[in-house]
Amino acid sequence: MARPVNRHRLRVGDGAVTRSVILTLVLATTGLALIAPLAVIFAEAFARGVPTYLEALARPDTLHAVGLTLLTALICVPLNTAFGIAAAWAVTKFSFRGRNLLLAVAELPFSISPIVAGVAYLFVYGAQGLFGPFLQAHDIKIMFAVPAIILASLFVTAPFVLRELVPLMMAQGRDEEEAAVSLGASGFDVLRLVTLPNVKFALLYGAALCNARVMGEFGAVSIVSGNIRGQTSTLPLQIELLYQDSHAVAAFAAATVLAGVALFTLVAKYLIERAERARGEIVAPRRPGH
């Protein structure tokens, strides 16, 4: 005889024993795998007290690295945001052949190792690269200097804003823009007054992610920067230099700055998602990726 279907019957895995075993294992693993690495950074940085931490943070080479990292982010985030808006506008407001190809090419940096990206840039702007002879003849220095750091950072973060905008702008369609145009609005007015306000949270979130990744990029930048101390060390490279020189507290102090940026980004994500839900707007499907 079949059991009557009860609306409140337990679903799979809801038994008290199963539930507590799974929950305990997952929470314990999370503590070890996610929380401990985050905690150890701050524990090591403050191991010898706050004054030592502040002193370690105020080293001239660390401060210089902070400055270079800020400069890189200040250039890369607006550029990749502008690219994201332009590409998302082209792809979602118009129909043309090769739209999917364009998106696939834009997503390539997510699949390519930062090391490969760094090597590839070396073969464009390095002495033995595509433009090497030309750049040398005209005494233009790109490789092992700040421009290369910026270019490599642009590569690894190119898709960040675009991938947040495209699913949302697809879901929102073109009706509002078409209405605005039929009422006589210019293209830039439509973008400024209709499209961007509709996607402002996704735009902010994409820019925040882009910023976190630019500030933290290590592999690609370590190849193209030449890692010249006090000149082309960004903050992640500075962490490695300090660690190699056994300045543990200084390395962890510098790491707290980047960990702080990461935590700030996650808090921003949380707040943005809450604001989206509160406004009841179409929430963009989020995909994993880096």
């Binding site: 679903r11 693993t29 090391i115 090597v119 592999g219 980047l258």
Partner: protein
Amino acid sequence: MPRPRFALPMLSRQPRRSVIPGFRLSLGLALLYLGLIVLLPIGALLLKAADVGFERYIAIITSPRTLASFQVTLTTAALAALFNAIYGLALAWVLVRYEFPGKRLLDAMVDVPFALPTAVAGLALTALFAKNGWFGAPLAQWGIQVAYAPAGIVCAMAFTSIPFVVRTVQPVLEDMEPELEEAGATLGASDLTIFRRIIFPTIFPAFLAGTSLAFARSLGEFGAVVFIAGNQPFRTEIVALLTFIRLEEYDYAAAAAIAVTMLGLAFIMLLIVNAVQAWHQKFAMGDA
């Protein structure tokens, strides 16, 4: 019909012409940018690799040190993906199926490895597994060494790819209809049978896609690994590091050959992930 949240947005072709202006400007800017920032360096790498020549390429790739680095990288990435397959599935399950205090916080914590720079992750893991570290000290009593050993590489790769499986499985698990499970239960199936026969097959394509993404990411990981690996040739030297070392030795042919092989591997993984996602989309459509 819900679109799977992790898939590339596939755009349907809409026949009507758009009245919105700015097509040429926006497309032109996007193509110029992609050409300069993304395609130019990839093209330069391919050209450089073509310069190496076939025989020399084979000699570089089949040299014992290169082969050893590929073996180390593939094995450790596979183990890291295995860890994340199990932990990621369990974590997604807990986040979707159970209510408990701190659930929102746990959900937010999942993204930490994506937000935290890899160098910072590498530094933190090295501190944890150092001889006198929080994990290293107790493990040393058991005679287990993680830092400066292959196990350390696995830990670094596993950490940096934690979110992939969770974030691909989570939405599919959320969308599952309880009726299917109830039907199974009504017919007298045990929890384990229902999970094995109904739930797991439904989430399997997403699960596979997430695991492949985690594996692909681990293959190219550099920052977190170099801190903890010890970087001994033949033992704990990953492919990305060997590329870096060849550059520092000014051996550009070897760097180009190894880098282009990594690029090829990344393309193969991309094709696999896309095939799995297409399969998954077919699944999702079948349900609707």
